[in-house]
């Protein structure tokens, strides 16, 4: 039905999306080619921009593989922590009737309003007292804690949409609330959980300011700080190189997106009601 209308819509959407598509396209093209000086049309196809993979682009920088490993550890640990803490906390807030529940729920909403990054000096002091400053562990804990309100909120939405009848049935059969949660409810919120897992992984993968300030040592460098340091180093600005590093950095993101597209789009599945 209405194919003409569709074409107009597609045309409009394409026009609006053009800048983004151009940026994505040249992101790929420039990483494997050399443009004419001062121009944008690729002259020659070459892989020299990807040299950072097999040689060190500057003797002072850690190997890209080491940095990638750090980033992976950082992102996956953050994601696991966020998920582990969110599934229990969100269940309590959604389904368990206990006295302080209202208070916690209001607090959770309030937390959204906090300027997390501006707390960074205070966070530093806390890490310092725990002896976790300048360690990957410390940044993981902080990032996970800062992502928690979002995670709990999302998971609460998913729990809310699980029909009460399932739980009622379990309780009436004589199972404890804990067993009901583990065996009946958890399987119901799996889609939400996997969406949250992916989302927090991506959030960790992208994080820039926290590792920059809280873990400046070479042992805890992540791709975001690595890439920004390469860009900031003004003796070698080289968009081809930047883009190749950027491509390398974005590949896992794109892969995750292609694999889990549906689930990611479902992240707000439980939170749509006002």
């Amino acid at each position: 039905m209405n194919t003409k209308g569709n074409w107009i819509l597609i045309l409009a959407l394409s026009l609006i999306s053009a800048p983004l598509v151009i940026m994505y396209g040249f992101q790929l093209i420039d990483s494997i080619s050399r443009p004419a000086p001062g121009g944008i049309i690729p002259q020659e196809w070459e892989l020299t921009n990807w040299r950072f993979l097999w040689t060190s682009i500057d003797s002072a920088r850690p190997s890209i593989w080491r940095v990638t490993f750090n980033t992976f550890v950082f992102a996956s640990s953050t994601a696991l922590l966020v998920c582990a803490f969110s599934i229990t906390a969100a269940y309590a807030l959604s389904r368990l009737n206990f006295s302080a529940r209202r208070f916690f729920l209001a607090g959770l909403i309030m937390l959204h309003a906090f300027p997390t990054i501006t707390l960074i000096i205070a966070i530093f002091i806390v890490l310092q007292f725990l002896g976790l400053y300048d360690s990957l562990m410390g940044v993981i804990l902080v990032k996970a804690a800062l992502e928690l309100p979002f995670g709990i909120w999302i998971m609460k939405g998913f729990y809310d949409s699980v029909p009460w009848e399932i739980e009622m049935a379990g309780v009436q059969d004589g199972a404890s609330r804990f067993r009901v949660w583990r065996e009946l409810i958890l399987p119901q919120v799996k889609p939400g959980l996997s969406a949250l897992l992916i989302f927090s992984f991506l959030a960790g993968w992208s994080e820039f300011i926290l590792p920059l300030v809280l873990a400046p040592g070479a042992d805890a460098q992540v791709l975001a700080t690595y890439m920004n340091a390469v860009i900031a180093d003004d003796t070698r600005p080289d968009y081809g190189l930047f883009k190749a590093i950027g491509m390398f950095y974005a590949l896992p993101v794109i892969a995750v997106y292609l694999l889990f597209q549906k689930r990611l789009m479902n992240i707000y599945g439980g939170g749509t009601k006002g």
């Binding site: 001062g38 501006t118 992208s206």
Partner: protein, 433 residues
């Protein structure tokens, strides 16, 4: 405590612990810091007691008498009977007597001069640098530049020096190098014209970006709603990527698009338009790109939420409208939009809060430039507390900026809670009914 409460708290506790440690505690500390003059110079974890040369001229204003200042000012190193005795005990009588012959009664301004004097010992020279350093310290009579870890040590030192009793308290206060409590951060924020400009910038930023996010998210959701699944998916993917791409990379792409030798300039050249940096040319250029950069990230949130609410609308309503001869615009206007009220309100309130406190994309894109025209409140907090070419980072003032945001955030979210009918949100779990 009931079993329910125990179970509830038990389920909450891991999350609670993490949030309290790394979220709430820092918030409380930030509130405290906002009332201090903490900076690089004062250190974060406490200070020591020290009077330096440049402190001397500040002392009269701090209520220290001139007499005490003169006492402190006295020459740093003196060869006198007391110091010579110390020297003799450590390095031998014969050296002490030779030094007395050479410099008895002399005073030296700094340690370097004292060391030079010690080098003149001929009979049994102090050959090693570290010995001369140790020896020179024995002749020190002034406390200028000396660092005392505790108040008690400093008190003893100034008492030994003979500082009059009434001056000691003021002197100790002036000598403290750590941070102290003060309300001057807020007075400063109030007085500085820049503060108000940043506030205005923040309002501009939030309103414009929010407008873009909501209208664009709505447009994307509505337009992809009508398209075949595959096409719709492609467009959604294009608009979803900014949200998950690392900010460092995403902003780099925009920078490539806009710089003098970038894409826009190259495209415009055939039309005789001089290449300019499209992102930083004027404040207006910067604002347009700030809104676009943040907007493209934010629009996808609206797009996803709106899309799923649209799918929840029963198709029969649309068919009914179609039968009535409504075109798409009319369908959207009269059938779909009215049912989107809640999601739109939700996105608006949710994003107002997150935009208020976000600055990462601005930091990477314009860093508040040109001329601080795109400096928003949260970025000002970051710049004040963590980025300063000259090296003195003002943590206290930065915390005061952050506190302003915290207060606005709490007020807004309280407002939203009322508005969104908190009671319904926290409706009692039905299982206990």
């Amino acid at each position: 405590m009931t079993r329910q409460t125990l179970l509830g708290l038990g389920f909450l506790s891991p999350a609670l612990l993490a949030v309290v440690m790394f979220f709430l505690l820092p918030v409380v500390l930030t509130v405290v810091f906002a009332f201090t003059n903490m900076s690089t110079s004062t250190g974060i974890l406490g200070g020591a007691y020290q009077i330096s040369e440049s402190d001397l001229r500040r002392l009269p204003a701090a209520g220290v008498s001139d007499e005490a200042v003169t006492l402190l000012e006295g020459a740093g190193y003196a060869v006198q009977p007391e110091t010579l005795a110390l020297f003799a005990a450590e390095f031998g009588e014969d050296r002490a007597s030779e030094l007395e012959k050479l410099h008895g009664g002399a005073t030296f301004d700094d340690r370097r001069a004292m060391e030079r004097a010690l080098k003149e010992l001929r009979r049994n020279p102090l050959r090693k640098v570290r010995d001369r350093k140790t020896a020179a310290e024995l002749f020190r009579v002034s406390i200028l530049g000396q660092r005392f870890a505790t108040e008690a040590e400093f008190q003893t030192a100034i008492a030994d020096l003979g500082v009059p009793d009434p001056d000691r308290a003021a002197l100790t206060t002036a000598a403290y190098t750590g941070w102290t409590f003060t309300t001057q951060n807020f007075e400063l924020l109030w007085k500085l014209p820049a503060t108000w400009r940043y506030a205005l910038n923040t309002v501009l930023y939030v309103v414009l970006t929010l407008g873009f996010n909501v209208s664009f998210g709505l447009f994307l959701a509505l337009s992809t709603f009508y398209l075949p699944t595959r096409t719709a998916q492609t467009f959604r993917a294009i608009w979803f990527l900014p949200r998950i791409l690392p900010p460092v990379l995403y902003v780099l792409m925009w920078q490539w698009l806009t710089w003098d030798q970038g894409f826009i300039s190259a495209m415009m050249r055939p039309f005789g338009i001089e290449p300019i940096n499209w992102m930083r040319h004027t404040a207006t250029h910067a604002w347009i790109f700030i809104v676009l950069i943040n907007g493209c990230v934010g629009a996808s949130l609206g797009m996803i939420l709106f899309s799923s609410s649209l799918r929840a609308i029963p198709e029969t309503q649309l068919f009914a409208a179609q039968v009535d001869g409504a075109n798409r615009w009319q369908q959207a206007r009269y059938v779909l939009l009215p049912q989107m009220r809640w999601p739109i309100l939700f996105i608006t309130s949710y994003q107002t809060l997150s935009l208020l406190t976000s600055f990462e994309y601005i930091l990477l894109a314009t860093d508040g430039g040109p001329g601080r025209q795109t400096e928003v409140w949260a970025l000002a907090a970051y710049h004040t507390a963590l980025s300063n070419y000259g090296g003195n980072l003002e943590y206290g003032l930065g915390a005061a900026y952050a506190l302003g945001l915290v207060i606005i955030g709490i007020l807004l979210s309280a407002l939203y809670l009322r508005f969104f009918n908190f009671r319904e949100l926290v409706a009692k779990p039905r299982i206990e009914q």
